[in-house]
């Protein structure tokens, strides 16, 4: 018996590993489903991934639909979307959530267009209105405004930003149904992956602490100073856009609208004035510390702690203090 009208979550896997955003979606999906009094399902496509189904149940799913096929091992937008479209037509969910990862944002629009339903991109919050309709909250205009979006069609589809929703505590006593589906496979979708390589980039998004440099830096070599501070805090070095554009540091370090959106525990902004585009990428950090010569710099509007001063004077002393503390 298929449960209709529920909440469906796309469980994203890479090389058989579930992307953590999927567990976050299950956390949010669980509370939406409970409020609506419906079931929470997850759909997982891949190859030899059946043993992952129980994890999805432990994180909140009632039902897990599995599509297991060698042609689904790597993400192929055509194979994935046609199977998901078929599942949605069959199970008729009310709400369908995907992670706003690059895979999610490649896949979701195709599924939405095929189903002729609405899709809201990159949501940072989801709530239910008084009629049980999904209110999808997202930034627009490069983060300058927030919009509440509603959908008049079914399913109400949204991609949800990574590291925004809370993952439920894993509960190994939870039980659920695992349903193996027969995958519909095209022998040739027109897309052929010739090679897959790990990019050796710094993972800003996962970092606990980020020490970022901006135009207050005088030369590329001065990142050494920021790196020393980052090392003491178990963090990594980030950057605002101008320094990346000038070739001082690689693109994988760029925080901001055209770079990465980060949400570390601590963000230390060194010599960053705080353009709207930069603030967009870091203002949701737990604690923000800003060091800047200019007391009127917009970075202080989003910071929790500020030092008005020259980073070349402050940083060496701060590093010295931290080293002292570490010893003591």
């Amino acid at each position: 018996m298929v449960e209709k009208g529920g909440v469906l979550v796309f469980a994203e896997q890479n090389d058989g590993k579930i992307h953590p955003v999927s567990y976050e979606l299950l956390g949010k999906g669980r509370s939406l489903a409970d409020n609506l009094g419906v079931k929470l399902s997850a759909v997982l496509l891949g190859h030899s991934i059946q043993q992952k189904a129980s994890d999805l149940i432990h994180y909140g799913a009632d039902i897990v639909y599995i599509y297991d096929h060698q042609f689904l091992a790597d993400f192929d937008v055509v194979q994935y979307s046609q199977n998901i479209v078929r599942l949605v037509k069959e199970t008729d969910p009310n709400i369908f959530l995907l992670g706003a990862t690059r895979i999610g944002r490649t896949l979701a629009p195709r599924v939405a267009a095929a189903l002729r339903t609405g899709l809201t991109a990159d949501c940072v919050d989801l709530i239910l209105d008084e009629n049980g309709k999904l209110v999808q909250i997202r930034p627009a205009f490069s983060g300058n405004i927030m919009a509440q979006v509603k959908t008049r069609t079914k399913p109400q589809m949204a991609t949800v930003r990574y590291k925004v929703m809370k993952t439920n505590v894993k509960d190994v006593s939870r039980s659920g149904k695992i349903i193996l589906k027969t995958a519909e496979i095209l022998s040739n979708t027109g897309i052929q992956i010739l090679e897959k390589t790990e990019t050796k980039s710094v993972n800003l998004v996962e970092a606990n602490v980020i020490v970022s440099g901006g135009r207050g830096l005088k030369s590329p070599g001065d990142f050494v100073l920021l790196n020393e501070l980052a090392q003491l805090l178990g963090g990594v070095v980030g950057s605002s856009r101008p320094l990346v554009d000038s070739g001082w540091i690689s693109k994988d370090r760029q925080v901001g609208f055209s770079g990465f959106t980060v949400k570390p525990k601590v963000y230390v902004a060194c010599g960053i004035s705080g353009s709207p585009q930069h603030l967009f990428g870091m203002r949701d950090s737990d604690t923000i510390i800003a060091i800047n010569k200019d007391a009127s710099a917009p970075i202080f509007n989003v910071a929790d702690y500020g030092i008005v001063g020259d980073i070349y004077e402050v940083l060496p002393i701060l590093i010295h203090e931290l080293k002292k503390m570490k010893k003591g």
Partner: protein, 277 residues
């Protein structure tokens, strides 16, 4: 772009680029009380990501031969965006403008654009920017591909090879880089890393002032489209409310004192946060 390919092909490629006119995001201001942007605060400009898409198409054309058609949906003055595209190397331009197209969400926008592509008929490759700076959705490209029933690759960072029937690109998905071959007809969306868009010369700008831009309204598309799927009536989502981001401002505690005192205080804050290794 390190582009390999035959200098000219038997049949020149038909490449279509989708372009959006947007307010200049660096200058635009918002009227938070009214919940909308102050349109008078910034000039309209071409979506910066679409300039990378256009440059990709023009580079392919220059390498292997072809015709580049730019399509834009928008108000009448979006013709300026198309003239800019013509100055930057597009050969033809089509403007979709009609009050019936207005108020479209990504679904209705993609539907309308895909109908215009169908009306143009033969094409090999559609190129879109990764996203627009006003909507930020990155949805229109992939939705157009679905409406046209063609494969697509998003987040293309490099075009490596173009042949008569296929293109090889490098695309990055989170921590993995993929080398992908995709057959024509197909669609790619490109990131800002794919190239540096050229600036139009004065001569090209002047030429584009006089160039012809095809203008289609809703009635011109009815042989390939259903009118109720355009614009507001064709949209599946609606914006219920717009407001200023609440997390925007924090109460910043400015640390005073001597350099040593300031640094010490910050060090203490960091220790208290438990991040000191």
């Amino acid at each position: 772009m390190k582009l390999l390919g035959r200098k000219t092909m038997l049949n020149p490629l038909n490449i279509i680029v989708l372009i959006k006119q947007v307010p200049d995001i660096e200058k635009v201001r918002f009227d938070y009380d009214k919940g909308r942007l102050d349109r008078g605060s910034a000039e309209a400009t071409t979506n910066p990501f679409d300039l990378n898409a256009l440059e990709t198409a023009v580079q392919i054309k220059e390498k292997v031969g072809g015709v580049v058609t730019a399509i834009s949906m928008g108000p009448e003055n979006a013709i300026e965006t198309l003239r800019d595209a013509l100055a930057r190397g597009a050969d033809k331009a089509v403007l979709l403008t009609d009050i019936k197209f207005a108020g479209a969400d990504t679904l209705a926008t993609s539907y309308t654009l895909s109908c215009a592509v169908k009306k143009i008929g033969l094409f090999d490759l559609l190129v879109c920017g990764e996203k627009s700076v006003d909507g930020d959705t990155a949805q229109v490209g992939p939705e157009v591909a679905e409406f046209l029933g063609i494969p697509h690759v998003a987040y293309v960072e490099e075009v490596l090879e173009v042949k008569a029937t296929e293109i090889t690109v490098k695309s990055r998905f989170d921590e993995k880089s993929y080398l992908v071959k995709i057959r024509f007809p197909s669609l790619i969306t490109v990131t800002k890393d794919v190239n540096v868009p050229r600036l139009p010369t004065l001569k090209d700008k002047l030429r584009s002032r006089k160039a012809e831009v095809t203008v289609w309204n809703a009635s011109n598309l009815l042989d390939v489209a259903e009118e109720q799927l355009f614009g507001l009536t064709g949209s599946a989502t609606w914006v219920a409310k717009v407001y200023a981001p609440s997390a925007d401002k924090r109460k910043c505690q400015i640390i005073g004192g001597t350099l040593e005192e300031k640094s010490k205080k910050i060090a203490e804050v960091l220790a208290k946060l438990g991040v000191l290794r």
